[in-house]
Structure formats: C-alpha cells, structure tokens
C-alpha cells in the first residue's frame, strides 16, 4: 500500500458507531446463507439441464453482504456485478425472484428472461440494469452520483466489479471523473484473485487494486473480504463520508472464488488443487458462524434455525419458480424504445 492509501479510521469510538445490532448480525448470517444455498440449488438445476447458466458469488458472500448492508436499501443506487447475488438479497431481492432469474422466467424482475441470469436490475430497488460487459457500470454509477449531486440528493452510488475488470479503460475514466467532481461513489472491488483463469499478476502490476486510488487522489481501503463484519465496518463509514460530500472511495475486499468461473468453466484446468483445499477451511460463512458462536452472540440453536429456515425457503422458491411461466416467442418484442415522453 502506498502512503496515500488509508484504511478507514478504526478508533474504538468510530467502531461503536458501526457496531452491528443482534438483528443485523442475524440478517448478515441469513443473507450469506441464503445466497449460498440459492447458488447451490442453481448449480443443481444446471446439472439437471434445467438452468442454462449459473455464475455464482460463492466464497464472496461476506464481502457482498457486508457491503450491501452498509447501503441504505431503496435510497442508495447500486450497480452491482454478476456475482453479487449477496448484494441483491440485501437490497431486497427475494429467493423466488432469484430463482426466476436463474431460470430466465418471464416474471424475473431483473430482465424478464431477456438477459442471462445474474444480470441484475431493479427500478424499485434502485439497481441499475447490468450488462455482461465488465466495468461499464462503474461509469454509470458516476453518472448517477453526478445527477444526485446536482440535485443535492444525499444518495450514494455503489458500484462493484472484480479485480480483473479494473484493467479496463472505463475503470480509469470512472474514478477520474468521480474524483474530479468529488462524487458520492463507492467503488467496491471484490478481488477473488482470478479473472476467469487469469491470476491477478496477469491483470495488474501492483499488489492491490487499492494501490490504484493514488492515481486519483482518493481514499482507499483493503479489507478482508471473508469477514462480513470487517467489510461492513469498512464500507459503512466510506458510505457515510461519501454521503457527506467527501468524494469517492475505493474499497478492495480480498475474496476467494470457491467455484469455477461459471457453470461453463472447469477450474481444475488452471487452479492447483491445494489452493482450493487450503481455502476450504476459510469459507466466509463458516468463519462467521464460528465467530459469533465463539463470542456467544447467538446460541447455536438460533443459527441452526436460520439454516433450516433458509433451506426450506430455497427449496420452496426453486419448486415454485420452476412452475412459473416461460416467456413466449412474442415476449421478445416491445420496449426496444420506451414509449411516451420522459415525464
């Protein structure tokens, strides 16, 4: 890390402000678990030939849920990337909706079967529609923040991407503009060490994505992306600062991609087995449970209850979603152009 990079101040006072309530900790656990179980089920559906494509956040749930909980859901804008099921759940997406999305169903609120799964979007939840083209969304978030700043609207725009995506020109242009105009944008990079098969050293010449912040004179932080609480405690003050006008913030969460890139990928081709084995003991969800248990925050029964609740919910959501209508051929038409005038 270079000198210009700062971790968010961690004085005990500050921490106090960002301590999580019991409900929040419970929610955190629940969201992480829900994300994982949903994705596991999606993978099963994929192997059964019932879901064409799955791209998952497994291993990155702590980063996603920790960051998502630092936002004001429904107020702040988010431009999350394809792995961010965890973010989406925190922002209000239901298990049923996630399953509709995975199956490309007509009622998927993200794209109504028009886009591949995990291409998020929700007007009512203020989630910008996402394409597959990585890093474009960073610039959109900057545009949202610019609009909000012009209207004195105290929102924050959250944009996430993988570390590989920071190689693209749009990353540079987004951070540059946001920094010049001191816009309320949180750039959240989930560094899982891989861009498909390419290790980080093929993508960038510096050890940390956060090192790039100094090129824009903005604040940055590196946080353990396996620790949901630490992520929350890093992102939350950055969000608050940004909301108060302190400008953009670049946060790098060091994560781990537990699975292959997607259901179309076989990561044994390029990943040493030991790497996966070493990491297995560091599943962020297990780590979270261990920590809250050790700290005696919850009796194990409560956590077990959350687990079984999530499992029931996921099973029911999948079953329900499978029965929902598929698009018909004509559903591809319409809305090429928005009708009416802009209001």
């Amino acid at each position: 890390m270079t000198a210009s990079q700062t971790r968010v101040p961690r004085s005990s006072e500050m921490l106090d402000d960002y301590l999580l309530s019991e409900e929040q900790l419970e929610a955190m656990y629940r969201y992480m678990l829900l994300s994982r179980r949903l994705e596991e089920r999606m993978m099963t559906l994929n192997r059964q030939g019932r879901a064409d494509f799955v791209i998952a956040g497994a291993g990155q749930e702590a980063a996603q849920v920790g960051a998502g909980m630092a936002l004001k859901a429904g107020t702040d804008y988010a431009a999350p990337y394809y792995r961010d099921l965890g973010v989406m759940l925190v922002l209000g997406m239901t298990a049923r909706e996630a399953m509709l999305n995975a199956l490309g169903k007509l009622d998927d609120p993200n794209s109504f079967g028009r886009q591949m799964p995990s291409h998020w979007g929700s007007a009512k939840r203020r989630v910008l529609t996402q394409s597959s083209v990585v890093a474009t969304q960073l610039v959109h978030a900057v545009g949202v923040a610019l609009g909000a700043k012009m209207r004195n609207d105290p929102i924050v725009a959250f944009a996430s991407c993988g570390e590989g995506s920071t190689s693209r020109g749009d990353f540079h242009e987004a951070l540059n503009f946001a920094a010049i105009h001191k816009l309320p944008v949180i750039f959240f990079v989930e560094n899982n060490g891989y861009a498909i098969s390419e290790r980080t050293e093929k993508e960038m010449p510096v050890p940390h994505v956060a090192d790039r912040a100094s090129a824009y004179g903005i604040q940055s932080a590196v946080v353990d992306g396996l620790d949901a609480i630490a992520v929350y405690q890093t992102v939350r003050p950055a969000v608050d600062q940004a909301r108060r006008g302190a400008g953009p913030f670049l946060i790098e969460a060091k994560c781990f991609r537990m699975w292959a890139h997607s259901s179309d990928d076989d990561h044994r081709r390029y990943r040493p087995r030991e790497e996966l084995e070493n990491w297995a003991s560091r599943d962020p969800i297990a780590l979270f449970r261990q920590r809250v248990e050790e700290d005696c925050l919850f009796p194990p029964e409560d956590l077990d209850a959350i687990e079984s609740g999530v499992e029931v919910e996921v099973r029911a959501a999948a079953k329900w979603a499978l029965d929902q209508p598929d698009p018909s051929p004509d559903d591809m038409f319409g809305f090429v152009y928005k009708e009416g005038d802009d209001g």
């Binding site: 804008y77 993200n110 109504f112 007007a123 910008l128 610039v139 545009g143």
Partner: protein
C-alpha cells in the same frame, strides 16, 4: 424576422431547454468556454453548474450521461467531433441502446448525444466522418440528422423530450453555411418522420445533412432542364420512416440515394434494401447510390476532399442518367 443559421438554431435551443427544465445539463469537452464550434457560447455563465467540462474521455462522457439520465436528469452530451465517438461505441451499443429493452421499459434513458459530423471542412480522417450507419444499425438508439435550422430547433427539443437515447447529428459544414427564416418554415417535431421536401415526377432523391442541400440545389438545376425530382429529407435515420420512404420511391419509380459516408455498408444500402423489397413492383430503374468512395474517410487536401464528397454537380449528373434510363 432574421434568418437563423444551423449553429444559431442549436445554440438558442440549448439555451431554451436549459431555461425550461432544471434537470437539463450539458456535458462535454470545452463546453464552458463555449465549445469549439461556439454552440454553448455564454451558456455556462447563464446556467452556472449546468454546463460541465468533461475530461477528454469519450467512453465516460457517454457512460456518465447514461447514469445521469437513469437517475432522472436530462443530460445532453456533446462529443466534440463525431469522429471521436468511437471510444464510446461500447457504451452506446452495449448499454444505452438496450437499457429499456432489457428491463421492459422499467428503466430508460432520456439522454441526448449531440455531435458535429460530416466533411467539407478540411478536417481529414478524424474531423469529417459520417457515423450514422453504425448507429442506424442499433435498435434502441434513435438517430436524427436534420438539414434546416427550423428542424434543428424542433427536433433537438423532441430529442430531449424523448425517453430514449437520441444521437443528434449536426452537420458541421452547415453550421454557418445554411441559414433559414425559421418563422413559418416547416419544422418536423416528431422523431421518426421523413419529409418530402420537393415533389417531382421523374425521380426521387433521398438525402440528409449537407447532401440534402446539395440535392435540392441539383434538383433546382435539373428543373431548368425539365427533369423534376422528388427530394426526401430523411431527418430521422433510426428508426427509418418506411412509409414516407416507400411512398416517395413509388411515386417516381426511380431512386437516387445520396450520402457522403462511404458507399459500402452506408445507410444507402439499407434504404435500397427496403425499397427493393417493398417497392419492387413500382421500380422503373436500378436503385442508384451516390456516396463517398470506399476509402478511409476523408482525405485532407481540398482537392481530394472535394473529389471524395458528392455535391450538386455529381448529384445532377447521376440524376440525369437515371432520368434517362
């Protein structure tokens, strides 16, 4: 009433829309100082904080415009020269054009991208290009290319009122060249409509931008020789006004399409394709295209530049041939 130039029409319309709606703002290179063509002259002082200089980075100019429009502002981006929009191709093609479709209209982008295009200004490769064909091939983007000051005014307003991304093409050679008494002049205010500007029985010429004016001049000349042309000002290049196009083609049975963009893959092919499919039975002659030659547009030296560009003389010659067919 005084005549208004194309540039004045653009300038005063920007002024008007900034005054009328607080959500409107301008983003682009050198706009605060008035823009390299002076289209935003004085506006940054008049509307503080709403005329923004962008860094020299076109992908982000488009992308930020997308974000701001999504948020609910009414951004008007300027790309200094159309030739520099190419770095923003991805943002326009992969994102802007699909925002509404992929959300079934739940999300949409009331944004405008203005940009000066076209040749005849000794601008060489990168200050002369025609870019319309690329964007006319993107469902979800609207492309407008007016020719007369009155249409510039009405269509720029229509573009701003449209909830979709509109690429608004301003022919830079016409900025000061073309003037019009706008009061009482026909002014199209619906995006998606073409106009039959002149009617004649012998053949139909399709054009837009500078070439529309050259076509009208050629038609004038030909009228003196007894050849009467229908001339269509396309105005909107995406989506095309198929009804008017077909009506005008059928009316004479002979079609001449003119653009300064290079021939192959230019908009002319699409027009010919529409006509050859849907007006085939009314055609009395081959569909003729007059366009820039297939070389990287556009040569700098004025001798080569004018050899590259279609003009009234070449149009008249092609029309004469066609009339004689």
């Amino acid at each position: 009433m005084a005549e208004v130039s194309v540039l004045e029409a653009v300038h005063e319309t920007l002024d008007e829309v900034l005054a009328a709606d607080e959500r409107v703002f301008l983003l682009g290179e050198d706009l605060e100082a008035g823009g390299v063509f002076r289209a935003t002259d004085g506006l940054s002082a008049k509307y503080p904080g709403r005329v923004l200089d962008a860094p020299l980075a076109e992908s982000s100019i488009i992308g930020i415009t997308i974000g701001a429009a999504h948020y609910g502002q009414r951004p008007i981006a300027e790309i200094q020269f159309a030739d520099f929009i190419h770095a923003g191709f991805d943002q326009l093609c992969s994102e802007a054009s699909r925002w509404s479709w992929r959300t079934r209209g739940e999300q949409y982008l009331p944004m405008v991208v203005r940009t000066p295009w076209g040749g005849g200004v000794h601008g060489g490769q990168h200050h002369s290009q025609s870019i319309e064909a690329y964007y006319a091939h993107m469902p979800g983007i609207k492309v407008v290319a007016p020719s007369f000051p009155a249409d510039y005014r009405s269509l720029l307003k229509a573009a701003l009122a449209d909830p979709n991304p509109v690429l608004f093409l301003e022919h830079k050679r016409t900025y000061r060249l073309i003037r019009q008494e706008v009061e009482g002049a026909p002014a199209e205010d619906r995006i998606g409509k073409s106009r039959i500007t002149r009617r004649g029985d012998d053949l139909t010429v399709f054009a837009y931008g500078l070439m529309l004016h050259e076509s009208l001049a050629a038609a004038e000349e030909l009228a003196g020789e007894g050849i009467e042309c229908t001339v269509v000002d396309l105005l909107t290049l995406n989506p095309l006004d198929q009804d008017t196009i077909l009506e005008a083609a059928r009316a004479t049975g002979k079609v001449l399409i003119v653009h300064e963009d290079t021939l192959t893959g230019g908009l002319g092919g699409e027009l010919a394709g529409i006509i050859a499919e849907h007006a085939f039975e009314d055609l009395d002659a081959p569909i003729r295209r007059l366009a820039g030659p297939d070389i990287p547009p556009m040569p700098f030296h004025e001798v080569m530049e004018s050899a590259f560009m279609p003009d009234r003389t070449k149009i008249a010659a092609a029309a004469r041939d066609l009339a004689a067919y």
